[in-house]
Structure formats: C-alpha cells, structure tokens
C-alpha cells in the first residue's frame, strides 16, 4: 500500500506545524497556487508504521551479508552517525561565520591531512559529493592543467574496458573523446593497446587499481611512465582503495589526481543510494586547480575556508556550499576510531576475506575468472560454463541468493567477463559468515544440477517474485495518480 492510500482528507499532525494560521501575508494573489499539492494526509503513527514497514522490505548491511563487488559494503559504525548528528553540528548554517564553526572546521582540516597521508597526494579537497562528481572534478583539473600550459590539442582520455561506466561518462561530460583499451588474459591492461592509444592527443588515463577484475595492475609504473612521457596525466579511480589502504599510496604509483569514495573505504553509509562523498587528491602540479572550498589553518591556529581569492586558478565551485559535510564528519570519526594501525588492517583483512572466499568457492566447484591471480579485496566467478550447460544465468543465481538471505554479488559487471559475479566480502565480515555463504552457494550449485527451472524462477521467498523490467520501461508509471 502506498502512503497516499492511507490518506484521509482533513487528517493532520497538530504537533508538527504551527497551530495558528499565519495571518500576515503580502504574497500577490496571482502567485498563489490554486490547488494543494498531492501530499498524504496521514497521522504521525501511520507515517511511522508505513516507513518502518517499508524499511523492513530492504536488505542492508545491518541485516544481511552484502558481498557486492566494487561497492565495499562494510559495517557502518553507529558512533559515526551518532556523533555526526550532535545538535551543534546539525544546527550550523553553511554560511555562518568561520569563527562559529572552528570545531567542525578542525575536523575537516584534519580529515584533509589524513587523506593526504594515506593517498600520498600533495593536496586534498573534500567538496565532491559522490564518486562520479570526484571523477568530474578530477578530469576538469586535468583539462585546466593542459589549458594553462597552452596544450589545447589533447582531446582524448584513455580508459580500460574494465572501468566503471562513470569513467567514460565523466570524460564525455568534460568534453573529451573516450579511447577504450582492452584487457589481457591475466586481467591486466593490454600494454600494446595502451602504447598504440597514447599520443600527443592524450589528455590522460583513468585507471582503477586494483581493477574491477579484482587484480592489482602489475604494470602500473610502466603505464605511468608511458602516459607521462606522452604528456598525459594519470587519474586514479579510488573505488577499490579498500584493497590497498595503508599498503600502496596512489601518489607513489605515479598518479596525478585521485578520488576516494568515503562511502566505500571510509565506511560512510550507502543510504540506499547516497549521499556519498569523494574527496579529490592531487599531486603538486595540480594544486592550483583544486576545487573550492578547502580548509586551511592559519599561523594563529584558526581554520578558514580557501576561496577563489586564494586559489584564482581553481576549477571553481561544484556544490552550493562545501559538499556533503555530514558525510565527511562520519568519515573523520571513522578514521579517528581506526587510527594509523587500523588503516592497513582494513586492506589486510579485506584481502584475507576475499582470498579465503575465492579458495572456498573454487573448491566448491565454481569457476574463477582469473584463477592464476591473487584476489585483491574482490574477485570474479564466471557462470559461463554453467549457463551453457543448464541455461541458468548469473542473474538467476543472484536472485536465488536473495532467497537464502544473502544480498547478491554485483552481476554482469565488468562487462568483459561473461555471466560474472563480482564478489567483495569486506573486512568486517567474520569467517562464520563467509562459511555460511559458501554453504549457500554450494546448495545453489546442487539446485542448478537438479532443479534448474526452480533456480531460473528465483526469487521465491522474497516479498515479490521477479519483477518485470520491460513493462516498467515500456508502460512508464513514475508517479501515483489518485482514482478519479
């Protein structure tokens, strides 16, 4: 039932709005709306019940194992939420004077410094509001750098075919042409393809390392040399930073600009699809182009915002204020809880969990896409052979996992591995959880042999069975309409 179907004309919540009707008004009559908006008229209790019940129809980290590859679904500590929601932080207006926000700004400054350290970059700006915005800002800085050097013939960005879709979409949003390069059999970028693609027209290369294939690009230093020699810059997509945190710094790998998904590596909540936060880090030569605002500490120990006046070459402002401040606070609290020892432990135990799960699934009879490689914090299982023999697809298996109380791994990404499941068990999962997941996967393998049609019809135990995507797109129903 929709919230609108609980609605009764005239029902309202007397505690939640001013009791007396405001009498004073000078709004011209011709500007007033003629009919009220379609908002439900429901009691507070009905609202609470409705949305509590809806929440119960979701899988979440707090309720299920969520091995979603490339998404780093780790536990979101409750303290991070509780302390970021202290009333003074919530009440602070973004345009309040700096001297009334020194506590908040101290957190932001320290977060910048910590992120500089773990990434090996010279400067960090916290303003990007999601991974894709971090990418946009990063590529804008590459562009600004070339333009400032009168280097206007660089029109292409090179992107491996395993990359997230946001990479090519971002390059295009920045006015670049995308040159996609292939991956070799071992899951590394094809070096011959890279050499052939690089030239005086190359503005930069966007790379995710470890890649979305779950392996570390061994040739990253060589790639860096090739691109830099051609005059291009290197962009690091930090989607998989969880795999190498405290082990390898993107700055040491030769990257000029990076973004870090705080909603992945630094455990801020995914919130059913945001808000994220994706600070960008830059090497020395890109410092002047960082987006505003960033926080600086004055000689007197006070914190203040750097604006256009301080950074005249900045690519500018990408949010009305300073990005997703509350998300940044959560990440700051998380890094303070972890401390320096906690940083490398993240990558160590994420990697341990992934390699253990890979070994177990291999033993259970699943085909690993890159069997000769170590897993990073994630790995790929391919169901191509199973599909050829039984007709059961990766999506069918994913839906059957839901029946067994596990969120599905990422399916059909990266696109270059057929019938793939990208599996990422974050460091916060225990061995028992991984073992139980393996047991469920084994059960499904048996079901695929004995009852393939049942698996193809999954899910069976969820509130709904398989939903009709085609109907949804063909007969668009995007808003509820009251029966007339």
């Amino acid at each position: 039932m929709l919230i609108f179907e609980h609605s009764r004309p005239g029902r309202r919540n007397y505690s939640q709005a001013p009791i007396t009707k405001a009498e004073k008004s000078n709004i011209p009559k011709n500007l007033l709306r003629k009919s009220p908006p379609l908002l439900p008229e429901v009691s507070e209790m009905d609202t609470v019940r409705h949305y509590t019940r809806l929440s119960q129809k979701n899988f979440s980290i707090d309720t299920e194992f969520y091995p979603l590859g490339s998404c780093t679904m780790k536990y979101n500590p409750r303290a991070c939420n509780a302390l970021a929601m202290l009333p003074q932080f919530l009440a602070r207006h973004p345009l309040a004077p700096e001297d009334s926000g020194q506590g908040f700004m101290a957190c932001m400054y320290e977060l910048q410094e910590i992120l500089k350290d773990v990434t090996g970059m010279a400067g960090v700006s916290l303003t990007p509001m999601a991974g894709a915005q971090g990418e946009l800002i990063g590529v804008m800085m590459i562009r600004a750098y070339h333009e400032a050097h009168g280097d206007t013939k660089r029109t292409e960005i090179i992107i491996p075919d395993a990359a997230h879709g946001t990479n090519p979409a971002t390059a295009v949003m920045c006015g670049y042409k995308v040159v996609e390069i292939a991956t070799d059999k071992e899951g590394d970028v094809d070096m011959d393809a890279l050499k052939a693609a690089v030239g005086p027209q190359t503005a930069g290369l966007m790379l995710t390392n470890p890649s979305t294939l779950g392996v570390f690009e061994k040739n990253v230093s060589e790639m860096s040399r090739i691109v830099h020699e051609a005059g291009g810059l290197l962009y690091y997509d930090g989607a998989n930073l969880n795999a190498v945190l405290g082990k390898v710094k993107p700055g040491d790998m030769g990257f000029d600009v990076i973004h870090i998904n705080l909603h992945k590596t630094f455990s801020t909540p995914h919130g059913g699809g945001g808000p994220g936060a994706a600070p960008v880090g830059v090497a020395e030569r890109l410092l002047p182009y960082l987006p505003i605002p960033t926080v600086t500490k004055t000689d007197k120990g006070a914190y203040r915002w750097l604006t256009e006046k301080d950074l005249p070459k900045s690519i500018g402002r990408l949010s009305a204020h300073m990005g997703n401040a509350g998300v940044l606070l959560r990440a700051y609290i998380y890094v303070r809880l972890l401390g320096f020892d906690g940083m490398h432990r993240i990558s160590e135990f994420a990697t341990l969990n992934a390699n253990y799960l890979m070994a177990q699934l291999r033993e259970a009879g699943f085909e690993i896409a890159y069997p000769t490689r170590r897993a990073s914090h994630e790995f790929i299982v391919t169901l191509k052979e199973i599909k050829d023999k039984t007709g059961v697809t990766a999506m069918n298996l994913a839906k059957r996992l839901l029946d067994k109380g596990y969120h599905a791994p990422t399916t059909y990404f990266p696109i270059l591995v057929p019938e793939c499941l990208l599996i990422e068990p974050a460091e916060t999962e225990s061995k028992e959880t991984l073992d139980a997941f393996v047991a469920a996967m084994k059960e499904i393998l048996v079901e695929i042999q004995k009852q393939p049609e049942m698996v193809k019809g999954a899910p069976h135990n969820m509130p709904l069975r398989k939903l009709d995507d085609v109907k949804a797109a063909r007969e668009l129903d995007l808003t509820w309409k009251p029966a007339s």
Binding site: P28, M140, T170, G273, R465, A472
Partner: protein
C-alpha cells in the same frame, strides 16, 4: 582490532585454506618498490568513548546561535520521527536498489517521493534526486541543451543564487555551453521582461527563473516563462519546495508552464549541517523524461502480477550507456530523500502550507519592525517570501559581528556577492522564530545601530 572480527585461530585457518603463510604474502603481486612506508599524519586509534569526548568538545566549541541566515539553506523544525526512521539500519546501510526484490522498501519510498515532488512542482515526472540544488541546475541546463539541439546558450538572471551560477558555469563550460547572466531591476529586485529583451535577440536554449529569487523576491514568472517560450527556448525553474506549498507551481507558469523544475530539497526535513548532505530535486514534463539524468523508479508487476517497483529507463545511465549516458551521475542522495519523504508525509499539504505561511509572516513582521529603525530600509520594493534584503546605516560586517556577540547570526552580507548592494543584509526568519526571537533581534540591532551612529 576495530570492526574486524577475526580471531587468531580464524586467521590461521583462513591462511591455511588459501595456502599462504601470512597475510602479507597475499600482497605479493604488488611490486615491492610501490609498497609505502608508515603513515605519519594519521593519529593513533581512539576508543568510542574517547572519540565521543573529542566530538562533544568540538561540537560545544561551535555552540548554538539564533540563526537568521537563509540564502539557500533554511532552518525549519524537523519532526523527531524523520531521522529516527531514516537512520534505521535498513535504510541507512542499504545500497542502491539494483536488486529490486531485495529493495522494495527504498524503491517504493522513492516512487512516493517522485509523486510528491511532481505534484509540488506541477510537473509530470520526477527523478529520485541529484546531489544538491546547484548541481541539479547544471544538469537541467545540460538537459535543456540536449533537448533544444540548436543553441548552446543559457540565460540566467543575476537574481539567481550566486553559488548556483558559479556551479552552473563550472560544470557546463566543459561542454562549450555559454552562460549569459542577465540583469535585474535595482528598484524592485526582479527581472523585468523589458530589461532583458536584447538578450533574446540571439537564440538561446533555456532561461533560468528562480522563484523566489536569491533576494527572497518573487519573480514575474508568468511573463518570463511566456517570453522564453515565444523565443523557442526552454524554461528551467529553480524553486524552493517549501515555498511551493503556497505558490503557483512551475508547471503552471505562463501559458505552457516551465519545462524543467529543480531546486534544493534541504528545507524538507534536512538539517543545516554546515551545508550538506542535502539533495537536489528535478522534475520535468513527460516529453523530456528520456533526457533526464539520475535514477528514476517505475511501478511494474512481478511474475504473479503483484505490483512492485524497479529502477527504470536505465538505458539513460552511465552503468549501461557508458560514454553515451545523459550524465555521469551514479550515486544520488538517497538517504536525504528518505528523510524528505517522511517529512512531507508527516506535514501533509496543510502542515507544509502552515510552515511556509508562518515563515513568510515572520519575515514580513521582522522587516516591518526593522524598517522603523532609523536608516533601515528594504533594498527592494517587490514582495518577498521568507527572506528579504534590507539596507543598514553602517557596514554590515561590523553589525553582524556585534549581533554574533549577542548569539544572533543576523543574516548574510550581500556586499561580497553584489558589490552594487552596499550595506545590504539578507535576512530570513522561518517558522522556528517566535515573536520574542524577532523582538530580541530588533532590540539588539537597534542598540548596535545607536552605538554606530553616535
């Protein structure tokens, strides 16, 4: 080990299964020369008790003020139920609803949100949110250019939020789109059709119309909408969703209505929180839906014909279309939309209207009292919503400092954004302000002005 459950025994068993002698061995594909040294600027870990103490100290350092600043982020009462439900783990810690059968809660909520926003703005369809109001405007401009096909020129009045104009420019200039700022009437604070006629002589893709504008002033939206449509351009409305509880929705502006409406969703149950996370909303006419960026939820049925919800029109999006997507946006502001949907349900049409009307009445009452002080006057003659520009007989920065000493954040100085508006303060009094709050503001300001003018 914070948040890592492994015992020594677990580690040993897991390594044995993998066939590795140590965890470090699992990193053996990383070239040794790339392995970094110790972190030097990350402090040692703290317990939750220690972090709590630290954060309480930081929060207390920031303190509380009686806030009269608006300028795009507004202080409204947020019912307790909003964030108690929103931060339930099932909403807080879930991912984007790609697995529809395991995400019906989030998906249904987003469908309800789309319905509410479409109705509030008088449009046909809504997406499931963008990052914030400013970036939503930039996406709307890109959308208008894609739709218009022949012009890459966007007209935006200087009465639009200065930071929105900056964000717009930063994002769309990557695609050789020209942003032209058009003037306003210094007397009324509005954009007047007769003053902008010359800007329409060259073709343009869209006209941006803020309602209310950055000064709180109502624009002549019908005349502006018709003007742009006569020139074959689209109309992008930038609206405050709270104001729409009272005002004609963009879908009904002029003869044909605006084509796209965007804005900052923060007034709908989102705390000020130093500027974010908030959420941008975007609604539009049905014929533009395939040009719309971001996630969109549709209602459909399952194998048993039971109604359910899915992400739809994904062929527009980056994870399918890659370089041909309508935008690079992936993550939106889901949790903020969860809060806003619960907020709008709790308030209902009447509650939202009361909040909007009281905010308008409070600001009007405050301005009327302030006008009685010597040397204080309205900067603009046109009526306003819940925010107004007032001219003071002295330097605004100093006056604001003096107000702050009395725990009042008196508003925003316009000097920085509008060098022409000397000694002008943008002040906002929402429904959260009582008559006593307004009186106190006027008293304190009156004393400060007396001192200055001595």
């Amino acid at each position: 080990m914070p948040f890592i459950p492994h015992t020594e025994e677990d580690i040993a068993e897991m390594l044995a299964k993998i066939g590795a002698s140590s965890i470090e061995e699992l990193f053996d594909e990383i070239p040794p020369e790339l392995k970094s040294g110790k972190l030097t600027r990350v402090p040692p870990g703290l317990t939750e008790m220690e972090v709590t103490r630290l954060m309480l100290e930081r929060a207390q350092a920031d303190g509380f003020y009686s806030n009269f600043i608006g300028a795009g982020a507004y202080d409204h009462h947020i019912p307790a139920a909003v964030w108690q439900i929103t931060t339930r783990g099932e909403f807080y810690s879930s991912y984007t609803p790609y697995q529809a059968e395991a995400s019906q809660g989030t998906l249904q909520l987003l469908y309800e949100f789309q319905t509410m926003m479409a109705s509030l703005t008088g449009m046909d369809v809504s997406n499931a949110s963008l990052y914030d109001g400013a970036s939503a405007l930039a996406e709307a401009a890109l959308m208008a250019v894609r739709q218009h096909k022949t012009s890459r020129r966007i007209l935006i009045p200087k009465t639009a939020h200065p930071n929105y104009r900056k964000v717009l420019r930063a994002i769309v200039s990557n695609q050789q789109i020209e942003v032209v700022e058009i003037p306003f009437c210094e007397e009324s604070g509005q954009v007047l059709v007769e003053q902008i006629e010359s800007f329409g002589q060259e073709e343009f893709a869209a006209l941006v119309i803020p309602q209310p504008n950055f000064f709180g002033v109502f624009e002549q939206v019908d005349a502006l909408t018709n003007w742009a449509h006569q020139k074959n351009a689209l109309v992008i409305a930038v609206v405050n969703p709270m104001a729409l509880a009272l005002l004609t929705p963009p879908g009904e502006w002029g003869d044909r209505g605006a084509d796209i409406a965007v804005g900052e969703g923060q007034p709908l149950g989102i705390p000020l929180s130093s500027g974010g996370p908030y959420f941008g909303f975007m609604t539009c006419k049905e014929e533009l839906v395939r040009q719309m960026p971001g996630r969109i939820i549709g209602r459909t049925v399952d194998l048993d014909n039971k109604p359910g919800f899915v992400l739809t029109l994904q062929a527009r999006e980056q994870h399918i279309r890659r370089s041909k997507a309508t935008s690079n946006i992936c993550t939106n502001q889901g949790l903020m939309v969860t809060a806003a949907t619960i907020y709008m349900s709790l308030l209902g049409p009447d509650g939202l209207r009361r909040v909007a009307a009281q905010s308008h009445a409070n600001t009007l009452a405050l301005v009327e009292q302030l006008e009685k002080l010597p040397g204080v006057k309205r900067a603009f003659s046109a009526p306003f919503f819940h925010e107004a520009a007032i001219t003071l007989p002295g330097a605004v920065t100093e006056i604001l400092q003096a107000l702050k000493a009395q725990h009042i954040l008196g508003g925003l100085s316009l000097d920085e954004f509008y060098p022409g508006q000397r000694n002008t303060l943008l002040v906002c009094a929402t429904e959260t302000k009582t008559k006593a709050d307004l009186d106190q503001y006027v008293d304190v300001l009156s004393q400060i002005l007396k001192k200055i003018n001595k």
